[in-house]
């Protein structure tokens, strides 16, 4: 009986120590992961050395990823006065262009026909940008945010985004692909409104050309790119 009691007590103590160790590791990982971008890693490196700090970060990142807690809580730390919205432009043989965009954006201006990819009128003239009602479109917005404003490491996300839109567009009308000359992704820069004005489509920036020949996931029989 005494032995059983001793074993139970010892197990309880071990369990408690295990819980405390887990809690300590978890909190340390959270703090390291969040403090690193704001100078925490430099501080740690001064105490433990660069190599140990780097190892600590790798361990913390792996821990946070495994437990689903890898998030920097810097939402809205910079609000800024601009938004960037992606727009896919399909240039056809007859010079016309089709704009592919997600439904959450306001109407985009009509583009005059011509060989120019996006149209001089968009480059030279600021236009009023329609403010859509933002409701239940948070996921699409986040996706497009990563496509347009992510670092260069997000180029893979851009390829997928364009491919996905093209696939949806050509569903049921694959024969239209015969008319395509090239497909490009543009970034539309929208300036947030002043107190006395609407939001403005300020400028257009070419991000990349989508060349399906470099995309192993694109069906081989559907050719899209006919001009470089």
């Amino acid at each position: 009986m005494r032995a059983l009691h001793a074993i139970t007590s010892a197990a309880r103590v071990l369990w408690g120590l295990g819980v405390l160790a887990f809690c300590a590791l978890h909190m340390a990982a959270l703090v390291e992961f969040n403090a690193r971008p704001i100078g925490g890693s430099a501080l740690l490196a001064r105490v433990t050395g660069d190599s140990a700090a780097e190892d600590a970060h790798k361990a913390a990142a792996a821990w946070c990823r495994a437990l689903g807690c890898e998030q920097r809580w810097n939402m809205f730390s910079t609000v800024g006065a601009w938004s960037a919205v992606p727009c896919i432009v399909i240039l056809r043989r007859d010079g016309s262009r089709t704009l592919l965009k997600s439904p959450q954006h306001g109407e985009l201006p009509r583009l005059a026909p011509g060989r120019d990819f996006i149209g001089a009128e968009l480059r030279e003239e600021e236009r009023e940008w329609g403010w859509p009602v933002n409701f239940l479109n948070g996921r699409m917005r986040k996706l497009e945010n990563n496509v347009t404003e992510g670092a260069t490491g997000y180029s893979w996300a851009r390829y997928n985004y364009v491919r996905w839109h093209l696939r949806n567009y050509l569903h049921g009308r694959e024969q239209e692909a015969e008319e395509f000359l090239r497909v490009d992704l543009f970034r539309l820069h929208v300036r947030h409104p002043d107190p006395d004005g609407p939001p403005i489509l300020h400028s257009v920036e070419h991000v990349m050309q989508y060349d399906e020949r470099h995309d192993p996931a694109w069906p081989r029989h559907l050719r899209l790119t006919r001009v470089p």
Binding site: G16, L20, C23, H26, M27, L30, V31, N34, A35, I38, A61, C64, R65, A66, L67, G68, C69, E70, Q71, R72, W73, N74, M75, F76, S77, T78, V79, G80, A81, S83, Q104, W129, W131, V133, N134, F135, L136, N137, G138, R139, M140, R141, K142, L143, E144, N145, N146, V147, W156, A157, N160, Y161, W164, V190, H192, P193, P195, D196, P199, A217
Partner: protein, 463 residues
């Protein structure tokens, strides 16, 4: 030694399970909405092998240390559908508390699998939701408000509605760290100075792709500056504010208003609701039990309201409260019944009760005046609908104003009370703006004797 004891208590004390149960139910509702509205209609496009990411395209991302998914890119549409159904079942399980621990674990595993299948559509609320599910899987939240507990009792297994503190503490610390690091990020030099300059709230309302509508885009930026600075200060101080019991209600009330405002004006999916789920972990279990009207052992919980039956203003207030008491949570007592009041409220004098209405909660805490009205709000369903008023009542400026207003009205009842008897008029004049010394109390007692004799039934019912 005391420090050690305190440390161990912080992590291993037994806490009542109601806050964890409320946390569980809220997360279950959020999960149900998230999966039902944002995942299911777009399952193929977001997560399918022929959707946004072809089979194998994200293998390099999944290969990072710590990343895992049961739904790698090779999963077909049928597997995705089953996984989504599993998530919905887990959500219902959490809401009703059936197979609670298993559902929490399943929800965490499946949701993380979906998230790691396509990370490009995730917002901060998604990460917070899966963090919450992780902490929930560690908590025995089934110990309150659950079918698991009900079934256990039927089978003769009586588990106390208590749980060890440590998983709750982890979730609480997660929230505090969230606000702390958010606040620090907003103060960093070299950024556009939106928060320190006071422009952030105004600019957020002009954010074309996030702000719901353009109604507020015309407001000048300086108008949002007080809210910007207050929000920043609150985020930085949140951990300390919730640590101290006196400031905790105000900190939480401010947070509810902030996140409700964010949800009303910005499209941030379910972030506001997910973060507010964590707030339940800071709410005392007694408040939740009062709202439910039942203790953990099934006993009915009533709040006792002590009021002046001789005062027409108080009687009118009592009638109003009775009308608002849709769930039958209030019991009214006559403060002139001294034996009853002295037993129920030891340490509260007759003079104190003549100055203000008192409310006695089942946990033994009592409140007076405006604080008493505030203590009634959790049990009056109208205030669940008018919750902004309820939250405002806890904020420092508003609560001071409320107390001052109550004291003024209490002292000047005679100005707008319509008395139908000499006793009533004399009584109110006695109470108006005078110190409640023994002589005044003696006169009130004499008046009450006259009042009781003249209207014995009215005096008994308090009408």
């Amino acid at each position: 030694m005391r420090l050690g004891r305190g440390f161990l208590d912080f992590w291993f004390a037994r806490l009542e399970a109601e806050p964890a149960a409320a946390f569980r139910v809220t997360l279950g509702c959020v999960l149900m909405f998230d999966v039902g509205v944002t995942f299911l209609p777009h399952l193929d496009q977001w997560f399918g092998p022929q959707g946004l990411y072809e089979a194998g395209e994200l293998d390099w991302w999944l290969a990072q240390p710590g990343r895992w998914s049961l739904l790698d890119a090779h999963s077909d549409l049928a597997a995705l559908r089953w996984a989504a159904v599993g998530l919905m079942v887990a959500a219902y399980g959490l809401i009703f508390g059936l197979g609670t621990r298993l559902c929490a674990l399943a929800a965490f595993v499946l949701l993380t699998s979906f998230h790691h299948r396509n990370p490009n559509i995730l917002n901060a609320g998604d990460i917070l939701l899966r963090s919450g599910l992780f902490y929930l899987a560690l908590m025995p939240s089934w110990r309150a408000w659950s079918l698991d507990r009900l079934l256990g009792r039927r089978l003769g297994w009586h588990a106390a509605p208590l749980l060890k503190a440590w998983p709750v503490r982890l979730a609480q610390i997660q929230l505090c760290l969230l606000y702390l690091f958010t606040g620090i990020e907003k103060c960093r030099p070299g950024l556009e100075g939106d928060w320190l300059s006071g422009d952030a709230v105004g600019r957020s309302l002009r954010f074309v792709t996030i702000a719901r509508v353009d109604w507020f885009s015309g407001l000048p930026l300086w108008l949002g500056a007080p809210v910007t600075w207050l929000t920043l200060a609150w985020e930085l101080a949140f951990g300390l504010l919730v640590l101290w019991q006196r400031t905790r209600p105000a900190a939480l009330a401010f947070g509810v208003l902030v996140h409700a405002g964010i949800f009303a004006t910005m499209e941030v999916t379910h972030f506001s609701f997910t973060i507010l789920a964590f707030y339940w972990l800071f709410v005392p279990a007694s408040v939740l039990m009062d709202m439910r009207g039942q203790s953990s052992n099934g006993e009915r919980r009533l709040l006792r309201v002590f009021y002046d039956t001789m005062c027409p203003v108080c009687n009118r207030a009592r009638r109003t409260l009775q009308r608002l008491d849709w769930l039958g949570r209030l019991k009214f007592e006559d403060l002139h019944d001294r034996p009853l009041c002295e037993a129920a409220l030891p340490g509260v004098t007759y003079a104190d009760q003549l100055r203000a209405m008192y409310v006695l909660r089942p946990d033994g805490r009592h409140f007076a005046g405006f604080d008493a009205l505030r203590a009634l709000m959790p049990v009056l369903p109208l205030f669940w609908m008018l919750w902004p008023l309820w939250m405002l009542a806890w904020l420092p400026g508003f609560s001071h104003l409320g107390r001052a207003l109550y004291r003024y009205i209490a002292r000047n009842r005679f100005r707008y009370a319509s008395c139908d008897s000499e006793v009533c008029s004399l009584h109110l004049k006695l109470l108006a703006g005078r110190e409640m010394d023994d002589e005044v109390v003696r006169q009130v007692v004499a008046l009450h004797e006259r009042f009781s004799k003249s209207r014995p039934q009215a005096a008994a019912s308090g009408s």
